[in-house]
């Protein structure tokens, strides 16, 4: 089911949280709303679910206008961060609740609950209470309850935030598998870039109630539309250098880089270099500096290089090198992979 949010505005009292936001999601697509806390991603999610009223704009599921529909009537399943299972009901009763509300007969409910439980692989837990389940199992119950009504849209609000690291990995692929198998249109709200990149077809990166960039994970990583996007994605994060463009990129008095191809700029700009595109193992023009920090990570080391004008570059260097703190180095920059931003922070 295609989702179309147009000129969406949301206010809480006198504060406008989201103004004039538009978002279109293709049928069967899984999209991430990514951003720091307070950027409006959960607000957007709950506006789509119907829990928050929409103060301006419209929302369509396919051809159907659902802008003013109450949450009960929207074909939407939601998985909450704390799962929101009903503590006094068994797993089967939890999953069956939406069907009971629809007044289906007992046999039909039992059949569909069983089907759904098999799909999320908790068929053997149907008699348990939520508090007798592990975090991952609770998550599966929540998914089953959200999907049992066969909704057109699945909304996931930080579904992995309460899980430990190992379960998070497992549930990441599990949620994606379910979404693919059911072919449901899904929206994932998260502040975790790895979750967004690994689970979703597209990412909408939000900032202060606006979508800063919306594109596929690799596109967003390779060609960030702004300084903000480049800084948000990537771990370890990208290094930004202030530079002066005058035919070349001047980095202080000692260092300079040639202008990347196809870029035309002059005056002060910001140069973004990801750690994996700087180091002794690359091809390209060089930058001189001094090793100021080494953080061993096993397979590779993170090394900070401080340039003569006190700006810092971070490099990922394969383990087994013999660089030491305080050593002067002259390392290569993979120029074609660098990002240039103008004074307003937009990509050049």
């Amino acid at each position: 089911m295609q989702i179309k949010l147009q000129n969406f505005t949301k206010r809480f009292g006198d504060t406008t949280v989201i103004e004039d936001m538009s978002l279109s999601i293709a049928s069967g697509e899984m999209i991430a709303l990514l951003g720091p806390s307070g950027c409006g991603k959960s607000t957007t999610l709950f506006a789509i679910s119907g829990i928050h009223r929409i103060d301006g704009g419209s929302l369509h599921f396919g051809d159907r206008d659902v802008t003013t529909l109450p949450p009960q009537d929207r074909p939407v399943g939601v998985v909450f961060q704390n799962y929101a299972l009903y503590p006094h009901m068994s797993v089967a009763e939890n999953i069956g609740f939406p069907l009971r509300v629809q007044k289906l007969n007992t046999a039909e409910i039992k059949r569909r609950v069983g089907e759904m439980a098999e799909l999320v692989q908790i068929g053997n837990l149907l008699k348990r209470r939520p508090q007798q389940l592990s975090g991952g199992q609770q998550q599966r119950v929540a998914l089953a309850r959200a999907l049992v009504r066969k909704p057109d849209v699945l909304l996931l609000d930080e579904p992995l935030a309460n899980l430990d690291a190992k379960l998070r990995l497992e549930m990441r692929s599990e949620i994606r598998r379910l979404q693919r198998e059911t072919g449901i249109t899904a929206i994932l709200v998260t502040h975790d870039q790895i979750e967004a990149m690994s689970m979703c077809d597209r990412i909408a990166l939000m900032r202060d109630g606006q979508i800063e960039q919306i594109s596929t994970p690799s596109e967003m990583y390779e060609r960030p539309a702004s300084h903000y996007v480049a800084g948000f994605l990537g771990n370890p994060p990208i290094s930004f250098l202030k530079a002066e463009a005058n035919g070349k990129l001047m980095l202080g008095a000692e260092n300079s880089l040639p202008m990347p191809q196809g870029v035309d700029a002059s005056g002060p700009i910001t140069l973004g270099i990801r750690p994996e595109h700087f180091g002794p193992q690359h091809q390209g023009p060089t930058v001189t500096g001094r090793v100021s920090f080494i953080e061993p990570q096993g397979r590779e080391d993170l090394i900070d290089v401080t340039l003569p004008d006190n700006q810092r570059l971070r490099a990922i260097v394969p383990a087994g090198h013999d660089f030491a703190l305080g050593q002067d180095v002259n390392w290569q920059v993979d120029l074609s992979r660098t990002h240039l931003f103008n004074a307003e922070g937009n990509r050049l």
Partner: protein
């Protein structure tokens, strides 16, 4: 076990000393109700059940039977408890979850009413009851008692509602249930511990109420155990302390039984919230 008793003997001694007067009082209440002490003494001389005669024969012709009075007390306490619970679970839900005009005002008013010395209202209440034709009826006292207990009940239940996660409610609505159904089927079960504690609590409050029935329903038809006892002891022609103690014992037995049975649930009211 041994070491802990040894280690804490000072504490145990202090507790024994402080609780001794209470224990002695309750002990003699029981002993005196089934025995006759020597005149001026406290040692029981003779065991007998004559003090409990009120159970099977009228103690004097002017008074209603004890069973009638007990029935009244039971009706008074349980109706009060049911009324308090019915209004508390709905009003507290509204205060905890719904956004309505003057919500803050109602909350503040609730705390104030809770702390209000209700006895100062007795004359106003008397006039209101008189006007409504409910003076000297059990129904009138029940309404007044329930109204006065409500602020406490609402406040307690609001605390329990506040600790139920919002997401459960949102999930219920998203699953297609109406707000009422969500409240009844999903939220109310989460506050059950509070509800049962409140039910017992307000029953006991009704059971032991004295002033309201005394002032607002002085007639024989609406008498409850507290006023009945008062009448027995106030009978200045022939004060019978043995009888008084036996009735007191009879009056206290349900309370003791309820405390023994429901201790854990009553503790809930101060714990608040659901676990798991």
């Amino acid at each position: 076990m041994n070491t802990s008793i040894k280690g804490n003997w000072i504490l145990i001694l202090a507790l024994t000393l402080f609780s001794a007067p209470l224990v002695i009082m309750y002990g003699f209440q029981l002993i005196d109700s089934v025995s006759r002490p020597a005149p001026g003494g406290i040692i029981p001389q003779e065991w007998e059940l004559t003090n409990w005669r009120f159970l099977w024969e009228p103690i004097d012709s002017a008074r209603p039977s004890i069973w009638r009075v007990t029935f009244n007390t039971f009706v008074f306490a349980s109706t009060t408890a049911l009324l308090v619970c019915a209004f508390s679970i709905t009003a507290a839900y509204a205060l905890s979850r719904l956004n309505f005009p003057a919500r803050r005002f109602f909350l503040a008013g609730l705390i104030m009413l809770h702390a209000f010395p209700t006895i100062t209202l007795i004359i106003a209440i008397f006039i209101v009851l008189q006007f409504l034709g409910l003076y000297d009826s059990l129904m009138g006292v029940i309404l007044v008692k329930a109204a006065l207990e409500l602020p406490f009940g609402i406040w307690i239940m609001k605390g329990f509602y506040d600790s139920v996660p919002w997401e459960i409610e949102m999930a219920g609505v998203q699953d297609g249930a109406s707000r009422f159904r969500v409240w009844w089927e999903l939220i109310l079960p989460q506050v059950k511990p509070g509800l049962s504690a409140l039910l017992i609590f307000s029953f006991l409050a009704g059971w032991s109420e004295f002033i309201l029935p005394l002032v607002l329903a002085p007639g024989a038809d609406a008498q409850v155990l507290a006023t009945y006892m008062n009448a027995v002891i106030a009978d200045d022609t022939r004060p019978d302390y043995g009888l008084f103690k036996a009735i007191g014992m009879f009056y206290a037995l349900p309370v003791i039984a309820i405390y023994l049975l429901f201790q854990k649930r009553l503790m809930n009211i101060y714990g608040g919230g659901t676990k798991g």
